[in-house]
């Protein structure tokens, strides 16, 4: 699978000294079990070349962290998927935050940071916790549930759209839209193409919800628009920044919570530790984000020739970062294959790192914490009770179905 030297291939540009791999990280086989392939990529070298898509890739923690923290060299404005915006027309108007570089990024990022700040989290915390209690009461009463539809999707859907200030109608578009956004970062495979072909109604819905008049006063969306009044962003920019909330604010937490449930159901010892001390809920969620890495990959594009891990990379090259592989790199983590709810998780790259690190990370942690805390207090056991089915997406790692049996405390 990994060849130690460059071999003659029909590739755009022979990489100088990077080992070449035939791995397709956007294939069903990879989605089913990425970990052995992650290990092979890490062991192959600090930088590898993926012949299937003609891109460089990094799978070790040190290089992933380095690329994330050098946005001047590894830029985002040419797209954070495979598509190079300098050569191809993006499938939608680019994001003003995700697909932007400083200085433009600095201004828009500051606005979303303030909308989703620690102080704002204090205000929404009680409401999010009450909703988590309600979700858990309901699943405990039912006993047999699907951890994905009934918890991982149901809980974020019960709090996040309201927090943004969306009206009730049309919310069924939110998850398909997010699935589309994350599939679209991938290569032009069937997942991406079919998602884009079916996207028109979801895109129309999201565009309409991003307008000021669609958003309830006091919600995150209205707070974004309020920054137009103070002159920090323009009328035209505000809807696109609200779009970022809708693109990245829901499916990510769905897969984060799904990851945590799957971990706790698989590792009963850790579940018992959580029951003994529900105060560990927040770290149990964080460790699940490290362990499963719901967002698996992002790309950057080089702005200049650069040497990385001893490999010369030219200007305008796509570099794929394997966040999930970095989060299990034994060079950085002790017993990386172990889900340990008391692990010191600081520094994991499940939310990224550097200037583009997930701007909604505090919302994600809040949702994860209050949900797992409710579960730890209200349930005695949580076990997998049927076949687990994986959901395929070019960027997001998660499940389609997680049958669970839950006993009340």
């Amino acid at each position: 699978m990994i060849t130690p030297q460059v071999e003659p291939r029909d590739i755009r540009q022979a990489p100088s000294s990077a080992p070449v791999s035939d791995v397709d990280p956007f294939s069903d086989a990879f989605f089913e079990d990425p970990h052995p392939i992650h290990e092979a990529l890490r062991e192959a070298g600090p930088v590898v070349y993926l012949a299937k898509w003609n891109v460089f890739a990094v799978a070790r923690y040190a290089e992933v962290h380095a690329v994330l923290n050098d946005p001047a060299t590894f830029c985002s404005s040419r797209g954070v998927g495979l598509s190079d915006f300098a050569k191809e027309t993006p499938w939608r108007p680019p994001s003003l935050i995700l697909e932007a570089d400083p200085p433009a990024h600095t201004r828009t990022r500051a606005v979303l940071s303030r909308v989703l700040s620690p102080a704002v989290m204090k205000q929404i915390r009680d409401g999010f916790a009450a909703a988590a209690d309600a979700t858990v009461d309901e699943i405990v009463a039912r006993g047999r549930i699907d951890g994905i539809a009934d918890v991982a999707e149901a809980y974020p859907l019960s709090v996040f759209p309201d927090a943004v200030g969306l009206k009730a109608e049309g919310r069924e578009n939110l998850l398909p839209y997010a699935g589309l956004v994350f599939n679209a970062f991938g290569p032009p495979n069937a997942l991406r193409q079919s998602a884009i072909e079916r996207s028109a109604p979801h895109q129309a819905y999201v565009q309409a919800q991003c307008q000021r008049e669609s958003l309830r006063p006091g919600g995150f969306g209205a707070c974004v628009h309020a920054h137009v009044d103070s002159g920090e962003i323009t009328d035209a920019e505000a809807p696109l920044l609200v779009r970022s909330l809708l693109s990245a604010g829901l499916d990510t937490t769905v897969n984060g919570i799904g990851a945590a449930l799957y971990c706790l159901a698989r590792f009963p010892h850790e579940w018992e530790r959580l029951r003994d001390d529900p105060g560990l809920a927040r770290n149990a969620f964080e460790e699940a984000v490290r362990f499963e890495s719901p967002v698996q990959t992002f790309f950057r594009t080089t702005t200049r020739p650069v040497e990385l891990g001893g490999v010369a990379i030219g200007e305008g090259e796509k570099v794929l970062m394997f966040l999930g592989a970095a989060n299990r790199d034994p060079r950085r983590w002790e017993n990386p294959e172990r889900y340990d709810i008391t692990r010191r998780t600081s520094g994991h790259v499940g939310f990224g790192s550097g200037i583009h690190m997930c701007v909604g990370q505090l919302v994600a942690r809040l949702e994860g914490e209050v949900l797992l805390s409710a579960l730890a207090r209200k349930a005695r056991s949580i076990t997998v009770s049927g076949p687990v089915k994986r959901r395929y997406n070019n960027t997001l790692r998660g499940l389609e179905s997680l049958p669970l049996a839950i006993e009340g405390a």
């Binding site: 500051a110 940071s113 700040s117 520094g347 690190m357 942690r365």
Partner: protein
């Protein structure tokens, strides 16, 4: 290496040597100071590396940015005039002997 003294909520003290150029947060997490969570890994986004700088020494620090100021409004433990985020304090030779108190909670 400059030394930074961490005072735990129970009064225990740990004196830790931190390399010049590293942040007080990095030094704390590398040496297992458990009260410093640093959930965002030092990106000035989460306010979980909150410390109270010694009253007498707050003037030794470079003034905080607007962003740090806003983040401190969201700390779990009460904000005080000497509150800072440890990830935003870069260790310099001039900061040798800096004393910071750890809050009883970060989330």
């Amino acid at each position: 290496m400059p030394q930074v003294i961490f005072v735990h909520p129970d009064g225990r003290q740990d004196a830790i040597e931190i390399a010049v150029g590293a942040s007080v947060m990095q030094g704390a997490t590398q040496h297992g100071i458990e009260e410093i969570l640093a959930e965002c890994g030092g990106n000035a986004m989460c306010a979980t590396c909150h410390v109270y700088v010694d009253d007498e020494q707050i003037g030794r620090l470079v003034p905080m940015s607007e962003n740090e100021d806003a983040l401190l409004d969201g700390t779990a433990a009460e904000r005080q005039p000497t509150s800072r985020l440890a990830c935003q304090i870069e260790v310099t030779p001039a900061l040798d002997g800096l004393l910071v108190r750890l809050p009883d909670r970060q989330t």
